[in-house]
Symmetry: C2
């Protein structure tokens, strides 16, 4: 088993023993995995994670319950205890003792194999290629917004950031019937959205106009203040970026304009898989590069290049 391991000295590809899944878990032979900005932040010390990185993957169940063996799957990343009050209330993604694949207390998917609780598996629809199915996890995070905020048909939504997540969020809101404007720094990335009929603006030529719903997906410390300035009174600001930094924030406008800020993290896989299978979300132009697992350290480096889109790690 090859695995991209993170410790205090950085990331290294190691050979380790193949995992034997416990009860209620499956061992998945990883086909493709995706590099997320969170992986890059973890590699820089965010959350102090030690272990195998990677939480976006598609693969085939190789050991585990009969019902799952041989099936092509993606997997939710929050491993909930299933027994606490939070889990009982249906918020397993927020279980206080959860482990999180490749992020906190559980090895991840930049490896030949990854172990995943059966409860976290989702079968990949036939006909949905691995290259698209591997986007299920980040796309689910975009769909999470629809679980949290009512998007009326025709409501104006501003998406700040044209990175991997911003491009998914803009498409999801557009598909949900919103009038989306996406703002970013890269005309080539914004063109991916324009091709879907989504209004785009280069940040250099843009100035904040009060908007009903604003999604902050810039991944930058100044993103929150920009988003706040662009949210209309009584409007909603969906905050997606997780940062190691603690920026200085003038909270007075939030109070004066009675703005609602909604933190948004992981989301539901099923609508993401359905949208991918139906071709309603275009992820093909989001792939920057595909590298073999043997070159996983390079994959992280490529993903860290300014403006890089999705780098995939091919474990076959």
């Amino acid at each position: 088993l090859r695995a991209l391991h993170l410790d205090a000295s950085g990331v290294r590809l190691l050979e380790t023993a193949e995992p034997t899944p416990g009860a209620d878990a499956a061992r998945v032979r990883v086909s493709l995995a995706g590099v997320c900005d969170t992986d890059l932040q973890l590699a820089r010390g965010y959350l102090g994670f030690r272990g195998v990185l990677g939480h976006e993957f598609v693969g085939v169940v190789d050991a585990g319950p009969d019902a799952w063996r041989g099936r092509r799957v993606v997997g939710e990343i929050n491993f909930a205890c299933g027994r606490c009050e939070t889990c009982a209330s249906g918020l397993g993604r927020h279980c206080p003792t959860r482990r999180v694949m490749g992020i906190q207390g559980a090895d991840g998917a930049f490896a030949d194999y990854v172990t995943v609780p059966v409860a976290n598996l989702h079968a990949v629809p036939d006909g949905l290629p691995d290259e698209r199915a591997v986007f299920a996890e980040p796309l689910a995070a975009a769909f999470e917004i629809l679980e949290q905020v009512e998007i009326a048909a025709g409501s104006r939504c501003l998406v700040l950031g044209d990175g991997k997540l911003g491009l998914l969020v803009a498409q999801v809101l557009h598909e949900a019937g919103a009038r989306v404007c996406a703002v970013g720094h890269h005309s080539d990335k914004l063109a991916i959205l324009a091709a879907r009929g989504i209004e785009t603006q280069l940040a250099s030529a843009w100035s904040p106009q009060p908007t009903e719903i604003v999604v902050e997906a810039t991944g930058t410390p100044q993103g929150f203040a920009t988003a706040l300035a662009a949210t209309r009174p009584r409007g909603t600001l969906v905050l997606k970026s997780t940062l190691a930094e603690s920026p200085r924030v003038d909270l007075a406008p939030l109070v004066i304009h009675e703005i609602r800020v909604v933190g948004s993290r992981c989301g539901p896989f099923e609508p993401a898989l359905r949208a991918l299978a139906a071709g309603r979300i275009d992820v093909d132009p989001l792939v920057a590069e595909r590298l073999p697992l043997a070159r996983a350290p390079d994959a992280l480096e490529r993903a860290a290049a300014p403006g890089a889109l999705k780098v995939l790690i091919d474990a076959h």
Copy 2:
């Protein structure tokens, strides 16, 4: 007309001409006015206001439309244009060109007379004494929370801060059926709530427990971080404090725990007046002192003393 005027050199009691109300406005002979922390911040330069301070008052209409003359009134502080899109959508309190009594573009009530648009007047119920009616404005701000956040009977609410606003918020949430815990630094103030059957804790003996609804009313730069740490995953943090400072804020927990932050400012007067008239909210113990208008500069000084409760200015 005596009026407490603020300019670059500070506050001064000046003699000025009596205002003549325009159409759709009333001149109110002020009976009592209340000092709010915002007045103190304005006096320190917050928002750059120049003019007569004061936005909490009760008085008698002295000039204006016949229907209002001679009536005892309180008044909403946001003077909306009534013609723009925001006003048309029912959000006059957020009118982008609004003037705000004693805060922005309109003279306030630390004076013998104040001019108020008729649309902003509310008649004070007979039998509700001035000493209680003068709390209509800050109490409306506490009631605003009920307009913004659904408070189910028995839901746990944490109120941080035992200042004037915190004491009103805790009572409003308690009356709404929530299980309130109020945390503050002053046992004498917390005792006001304990006498109403509200659970209280001294901040020095308290540590954050994840709570469904948290109201931040500390008026301090560190209040937001404390409130965030006390809000449970998917919980709601109502932010009441407006500060001149921009504190450093770690926003990652907001995203990771998918917390909803709701900025909350001015609120509806009618439920506040009804609650005061019915004796459901106890404001009598919140009055620290009552000074004549001639001593208005002293009143601001007294209100600025650490831990001071409501200082009233008696204009008669």
